[in-house]
Symmetry: C2
Subunit: 337 residues, 2 copies
Amino acid sequence: MTYKSAEIKSIITEILEEKKDKGGIKSLYFVGCGGSLGALYPAKTFMEKESATIKSAWINSNEFVHSTPKDFGVNSIIVLACHKGNTPETIEAAKLGKMMGASVIILTWLEESEIIEFGDYIVLYSFDASPDHLKGDIDYSGEKTMCALYVAVELLAQSEEGYENYDKFYEGAGMITNIIRKARVHVSERAVSFAKEYKDDTVIYTMGSGASYGAAYMESICIFMEMQWLDSSSIHTGEYFHGPFEITDANRPFMIQISEGSTRTLDQRALTFLKKYAKRIEVLDAKELGLSTIDVSVVDYFNHSLFNNIYPIYNHELATNRQHPLSTRRYMWKVEY
Amino acid sequence: MTYKSAEIKSIITEILEEKKDKGGIKSLYFVGCGGSLGALYPAKTFMEKESATIKSAWINSNEFVHSTPKDFGVNSIIVLACHKGNTPETIEAAKLGKMMGASVIILTWLEESEIIEFGDYIVLYSFDASPDHLKGDIDYSGEKTMCALYVAVELLAQSEEGYENYDKFYEGAGMITNIIRKARVHVSERAVSFAKEYKDDTVIYTMGSGASYGAAYMESICIFMEMQWLDSSSIHTGEYFHGPFEITDANRPFMIQISEGSTRTLDQRALTFLKKYAKRIEVLDAKELGLSTIDVSVVDYFNHSLFNNIYPIYNHELATNRQHPLSTRRYMWKVEY
């Protein structure tokens, strides 16, 4: 049976009810590969920051399977993201979850796939499947990143701890689609300039912090490296000053996320430095892009969805200018690995 | 008052005794910047994998200060690594720890520094301060990475959970210095070849997994980026196949850690692919380097120390061949940031 994001609240209620006599839920694992792992990053950060009692971790599927946390089992929830339900390592992690008696929540896009037989709950997320994700007519509050956050928010809210900003969080979730749509229009012209400026570069760095670091990670590994074959790394803006900043010069391009919320000051500090010593910077500022209308108590967790859905506008222009379609691969789907 | 690594056992006993009537210790935070954060990675992985009940996280100092976990306080231990005790963000994190009533353990190299007034326990770690860390005559079991691990191991062992591989762990700690010394000699010739081969490259990737991913991170940000101004990123070998591997070609250099222990299979899979599609690979194999003499139940946690102390042999040769001393900086110590 499949579920929609709005049903995650009742999924958690059901799991907690079922596990009540078995010791309850004590740990929450976010597991996936590449972009699917990156998409779970805000939920990991949420648990790290908001929960005192529920253990949580964010782990690559293959590492999870081969180096499984010792407590993983009946008292765990595992949330797996698997876009088409056919990533072998993530299927193995789901199987392991089933075998160990964990509650297995699978976030996926396809209703039918290999992975679903190993899930207790199959949550179908919304996804912009149009070419280069340009159409933008989806409900962004139903994307996988948001689904993982709903699991975290509901688990905390329905636990003894509770979550005081619960209403504010759902208020934010109700606003994110409009914010993203407007922001995508807002950056359309600068995305054209960006693509012209950077089309001949061979390396582009992404930067970010806090709950939205995952968006910088995804842009770096899934777009620049995977889809454009560019050298890249996602630099945490707090880490930047402790090593990476020495590569800064007038030529190296940086695409920096300025989050709204608690880590904004880290991003701004990096930007100030970049403005002085780097000359080629593309700034994605969540405040300018309208995110500040979401309450300050929860805004941290919405930066990722915003940035992650702004990038496609840039990516499409960059791919077009570089005459390197985003669908081009040399290994994926082509060779065994 | 300062302590040595061997006293960490009694430090934890003292903290647990002191906090007994205040609710005990419920969370353990590893906080630092850049290389000092990377060095704490194995301890973070240890807690994630071995402990069911103690919350743990690994966070950049500036992010920790601005986006502090809500439960941080009296029932927390914060372990900070700060080499010379003068990193402003880490000093702020220590101050915050003091203010919130957490037990503050500072791992540092200097006996006197700015940070020590904000620590409850100042642990002086061993460090090879010889030029380019080449001398190799130190007790590697007293390094900061090991000190952080001792905190984790002792906290778990002295908690209700206990740690079943406690004796094996200390047995491994007793072996690591000799293993590292032999391994450093073992790679000396290949480090010369490596430096000749890669001296004109502008990008070098590092790769790793599991508890030793931190060593790959440190080599990438502290050596290749900071000290050699090379483009770089540390790619997790499990994540490699989900994006980054598309940049693989016959020219791009990869320095890959093959860990001993639970995630070895991830590293080997990446190496098999590299051998087929990349032509320029430098392999650091923990098994070949003698780590397998440490018991399989704990060997995961020693890979980092091994790799981290093999790299200097390579780094010295690379810097010499590139005529770019490891001490060269353009921003650090020179400009405000």
